[in-house]
């Protein structure tokens, strides 16, 4: 019988003690964290979100009592398999570049009859009393791209524009600490507390980071979407809150997703 450690901080601490006791400190903390992640991968609770999301996708919901089974994520109505590997992309019906979350909002509004405000209301879950439908849907849709290579388009002028704006935002420095994304993610081998900071300006770093989100965060007991990841890095950067499904969030996602092109998508993953 085996079960996850209650909180990641405790889990990692316990693991260090074990490592020190049994292997006399062999292996760096980073190796040990990698082992910890591998041990968790076997029973990734992200699957609970995937199952809930799939159910939700098929349920007749909203004022129009419609399911999302006719929602076009870019590969035709109802096609989920592989859809995430080509997002964000330009959608003619919306005349806008959309990432997965924005597209889901679009389908919830146009097909299920929700107001836009309602569809966007609760993007990030918090425990049992505030489960986020959005994160469940994201888990389901992204799981259907596992193993497929990222192939984010840059053919429409608006896709190119989104990429350029995303790149600008990535390197833009400001706020009380004069931070930009590149401050924390522009060099190799950087760490904050015990976390490796990926170098997102290099192909390897960009690919590895993008293809492992969404992820189940053990420390939060929640499945987190890429929109959440960006929102939280805006917070760490001491920038004003990144609005959910905003043009800025889509542009930044376009920049990072496109830079991961060619890499195999491997999420929902599990992170500390």
């Amino acid at each position: 019988m085996r079960s996850h450690h209650r909180r990641a901080a405790q889990g990692v601490a316990a693991l260090f003690i074990l490592a020190a006791a049994t292997a006399l400190g062999q292996g760096s903390p980073v190796d040990e964290i990698a082992k910890y992640r591998a041990a968790l991968q076997d029973g990734n609770p992200a699957e609970l979100w995937e199952a809930r999301g799939e159910d939700m996708w098929k349920q007749a919901r909203g004022p129009k009592k419609a399911s999302l089974e006719r929602c076009d994520l870019g590969l035709g109505p109802g096609v989920v398999k592989g859809a995430y590997s080509e997002l964000p992309k330009y959608f003619a019906d919306a005349d806008r570049v959309q990432d997965l979350e924005t597209r889901l909002v679009w389908c919830m509004v146009t097909q299920q009859g929700y107001t836009e405000a309602d569809a966007k209301k609760n993007p990030f879950g918090a425990g049992n009393d505030k489960k986020a439908d959005m994160e469940a849907l994201v888990a389901y849709v992204t799981s259907e791209s596992r193993g497929i290579r990222m192939n984010v388009p840059q053919s429409h002028p608006k896709e190119q524009e989104a990429y350029r704006i995303g790149e600008k935002i990535f390197y833009y420095r400001g706020g009380p600490h004069d931070f930009g994304c590149a401050t924390c993610h522009g060099d190799d081998g950087k760490r904050i507390r015990l976390q490796d900071l990926p170098n997102l300006t290099k192909v390897d770093g960009a690919r590895k980071a993008y293809t492992t989100w969404p992820a189940y965060r053990v420390s939060q007991g929640e499945l987190r979407s890429f929109q959440w990841r960006l929102n939280d890095c805006f917070r760490q950067q001491r920038f004003p809150e990144l609005e959910f499904a905003s043009d800025a969030s889509i542009a930044l996602t376009m920049f990072l997703a496109r830079n991961a092109n060619g890499a195999e998508f491997d999420a929902p993953a599990i992170k500390r």
């Binding site: 085996r2 079960s3 209650r6 029973g43 990734n44 609970l48 199952a51 425990g127 053990v218 007991g221």
Partner: protein, 103 residues
């Protein structure tokens, strides 16, 4: 109501390997909320697994088990197509039962 469990069961040689993910807050009763008030304990207390109606695992859990717990165990026997059923009951008396077919 609690979300369904995710159960996988596979025959490996003469044993069946079962992997279960459960959706539960598993609140320890040790944490405090933002106002400093203790958050009451609320966690799975008993887990029971049956194979074709016969108990193959029964466990009592306390507060030290993770949120959304993962349980993995093996039992002797089992064949493709047999049913494995898991039931948990928590400190509020809520209970959930799910079933999987051995693959």
């Amino acid at each position: 109501m609690a979300d369904p469990m995710k159960i996988r069961a596979n025959v490996v040689g003469d044993t069946t390997e079962v992997k279960v993910l459960m959706s539960h807050e598993m609140e320890t009763g040790q944490r405090k909320d933002a106002q400093g008030k203790t958050i009451p304990a609320w966690h799975i207390q008993t887990v029971n697994a049956t194979w074709n109606g016969k108990t193959v695992l029964s466990a009592q859990w306390g507060p030290a088990v993770a949120k959304n717990p993962f349980l993995s165990f093996k039992f002797k026997g089992g064949a493709k197509g047999d049913k494995v059923q898991i039931t948990w009951t928590d400190t509020r008396g809520d209970t959930r039962t799910d079933e999987a077919t051995i693959g």
